[in-house]
Amino acid sequence: MGMATKMKTDPMLLVFAVAGAVLITFISLPILATVASENPSDTFGALKEPEVRAAIGTSFVAALVATALSFLFGVPLAYVMARVKFPGKGIVQSIIDVPVVIPHTIAGIALLVVFGRMGVFSDQMDALGLRFEDHLLGIVTAMMFVSCSFVVNSAREGFEAVDERLENVARSLGASRTGAFLTVTVPLSLSSLATGAIMAWARAVSEFGAVVIIAFFPRVIPTLIYEKNLHGGLSESIPIAALLVIICVSIFAVFRTLAAMWKRRTEEEQ
C-alpha cells in the first residue's frame, strides 16, 4: 500500500514504472502473440507429428543431461569458490562467466575445434568410439557449455549465504567435511541449487547457436523451428514455437514456485 501511494506522489517512480511497463510489454507481447496466433488445437496438434515429438525429446533429455553434468562438476567448484581463498580466484571466476559473455555461435565453433572430427582430441575420441558432431553427445556438450555458469554462480551464492561456522559446529559434533556439507550446507542452499538448475536447464533448452554448429541432427526444438521457418514460413514454425513456449513457461512456473517455497521455508527457519 505504501508503494502504491508513493507511485502516485513521486514523479520519478511514476516515470520508472512507465519505463518498466514498456519493457514488460516488450517481453510478453511477442510471447503472448505467438501463443495466441494459433488456435490451441493446432498448437497441441503439433505434438502428433513424430519429428516434433522427437525434437522435444532430444531437447529435454539433452538439457537434463547437460544440467546434471553441470551439477556434478559445478557444485563442487561453487563450494570451493565460496569457501576457499586462493591466488587466481578472480581469473577462475572470469572463466566461469565466459560462456555467458561470448556469442554462442562462437562457443559452437570453439567446441568443434576441440571435439570435432578434425579437432584437438579427434584421435582419442576415435579410439574411444565417441562422436560429437551431429550426435546427441555434441548437443549435450554445447548445452552444457552455455548453461553451466548458471549452476556454478547460483550454487556459489547459496553456499556463501550459509554461515561457515555452522559447518564448524557440525564438524565439532563429529561430522566429516562431506557430512557437514551434505547435512547442513546443501539443505540450507536448496533454493539456490534449484534456481541454478532451472536457469541452466532453461538456458540449455533454448540454445540454438552453439547446438546448430556442432549438431544440426538430431534436431532440437530450436533447430526444428528454424528449419520449419526457413522452408515453410511462419505458418509452419508458429505452432511448434507456441507449443515450446507453453511447455517451457509451465515447467519454469512449477520450478519457480517450488524454489520460492523452499526459500520461504529456509528463510522462516533462519
Binding site: V169, A170, S172, L173, G179, T183, E268
Partner: protein
C-alpha cells in the same frame, strides 16, 4: 586436560603470537579481552577449525594439532549459538549422535535425558526460530554435551541472553560444566562474567596472552597498564561464608560483610566499586555494610574517581568527579564505605 604450546597463527594482518597454557580437568579458564583480541580465533584453533602456523594443541594427553575437528572430541558453543535452522530442536541436539551413527532409540533416550537435565524437554519438537536467547543457549549447550566431549569451548555463551536470566543460566552452566570434570575454555569480554566463571583468567590483547593468573590476582595485581585499565578496579576477595541468624555473613581477612547470596563455605567475594557509597559519617542500617577506612589512593579516570581505602581489606569505590570535588577528599582522610548486602556477590 587441554594444553596449548607456543601456538602461532596468522591471517592477513591479524596474528596470534606465542600462546601457551594448559587447562586441567574440571578447570575453567576464562579468556578475557576486548573485541578483536583474538579470543574466538584461539578457540577455533583449539577446536581445529583453523590451522596454526606453528605450535601444538593437545587434548586429553593426545597431540591433536594435525587432527580435523571431527576427531578432536571438543564441544563448541558459539556466541550466537548457530543452531541448525533447518532442523528441529530435537534434531539439533541429536546431530552429534547421528553423525556418529548411534541407534535411533538410543539417540532418543540420550536427547530426552539430557534435555530434561537442562529443562528444555518442552522445546524438543519446536523449530529453532522464535526461541529466546536463553533457550537457544541451552540447546547449543545440549547439542555440544551430548557427544560427551573431552573439552568444552564456549565463546561468549551469554552474550545474547537477557540480563534477568543471565545470572541464573550462568550458575546452572557452571554447575553442569563442573559436574563433567573436563577442561573448559570460556571466552568473554565481560569482567563480571569472567570472575564468576573462572578458576583462572587469561587476559588477552592483540593476539597475545598478557597475564594468566587467578582471578583475584588479575584484579589485585595487574601485570601491565593494559590489564589494569581493561579489568578496571574491582573488589575481589576470597572469604568464607556462613549463616548468622538466617543471614549470610562472609568473612574476608577478618572483616565481616553481609551478603544476600544464599551460600556457605569457601567463596569468592566481589563488590562493584559503583555500588559503594562514600561518606564522612557512619550511615547505620541493618541491611547495609559500613566499613571505616583511610584513603590510600585516588585515581581519576574519565568522569569517575576511584578511591581506594584500607578498611582491613583494600576496597575501591567509584565516585563521581563532582562529589570528589565537593568532599575535598585527599589521601589519608578517614571515610566510611557503605554498601547493601545485595551488592556483595558470592560465588
Amino acid at each position: 586436560m587441554i594444553s596449548v604450546d607456543s601456538l602461532e597463527y596468522a591471517a592477513g594482518r591479524f596474528s596470534l603470537l606465542d600462546i601457551s597454557f594448559s587447562v586441567g580437568d574440571g578447570e575453567t579458564l576464562v579468556v578475557l579481552g576486548p573485541t578483536g583480541a583474538g579470543k574466538t580465533v584461539l578457540l577455533e584453533l583449539i577446536a581445529g577449525f583453523r590451522r596454526p602456523r606453528s605450535g601444538h594443541v593437545s587434548i586429553g594427553g593426545n597431540d591433536v594439532t594435525s587432527l580435523p575437528p571431527e576427531h578432536r572430541g571438543v564441544g563448541f558453543v558459539y556466541q550466537d549459538y548457530l543452531l541448525f535452522p533447518h532442523l528441529s530442536v530435537f534434531e539439533n541436539i541429536a546431530y552429534g549422535l547421528e553423525a556418529r551413527g548411534a541407534r535411533r532409540a538410543e539417540t532418543r533416550r540420550s536427547v530426552e535425558s539430557l534435555s530434561s537435565q537442562l529443562g528444555i524437554v518442552h522445546l524438543l519438537d519446536r523449530r529453532t526460530r522464535n526461541l529466546s536467547g536463553g533457550e537457544q543457549q541451552r540447546i547449543a549447550l545440549a547439542r555440544a554435551l551430548i557427544t560427551n566431549p573431552k573439552a568444552m569451548l564456549l565463546d561468549e555463551p551469554f552474550a545474547a541472553v537477557d540480563p534477568n536470566t543471565k545470572e541464573r543460566l550462568m550458575r546452572e552452566t557452571t554447575r553442569i560444566l563442573a559436574s563433567l570434570g573436563i577442561p573448559v575454555v570460556y571466552v568473554t569480554h565481560d569482567q563480571v562474567e569472567a570472575t564468576e566463571m573462572a578458576d583462572r583468567i587469561a587476559v588477552m590483547n592483540e593476539g597475545r596472552i598478557i597475564q594468566l593468573d587467578l582471578p583475584e590476582r588479575v584484579f589485585s595485581s595487574p601485570k601491565t597498564e593494559f590489564v589494569a585499565s581493561f579489568v578496571g578496579t574491582r573488589n575481589i576477595y576470597k572469604g568464607s561464608a556462613r549463616k548468622e541468624n538466617g543471614r549470610t555473613v562472609v568473612e574476608v581477612q577478618g572483616v565481616k560483610l553481609h551478603s544476600s547470596v544464599d551460600i556457605e563455605g569457601s567463596v569468592h567475594v566481589t563488590v562493584r566499586p559503583e555500588d559503594i557509597l562514600i561518606s564522612s559519617q557512619m550511615i547505620s542500617s541493618s541491611a547495609r555494610n559500613s566499613l571505616r577506612g583511610r584513603i590510600t589512593a585516588l585515581k581519576e579516570k574519565g568522569p569517575v574517581v576511584y578511591l581506594t581505602a584500607d578498611c582491613g581489606v583494600d576496597m575501591t569505590a567509584a565516585i563521581t568527579r563532582e562529589s570528589f570535588r565537593e568532599f575535598k577528599l585527599t589521601v589519608g582522610d578517614e571515610v566510611y564505605l557503605t554498601f547493601k548486602a545485595t551488592s556483595v556477590n558470592l560465588f
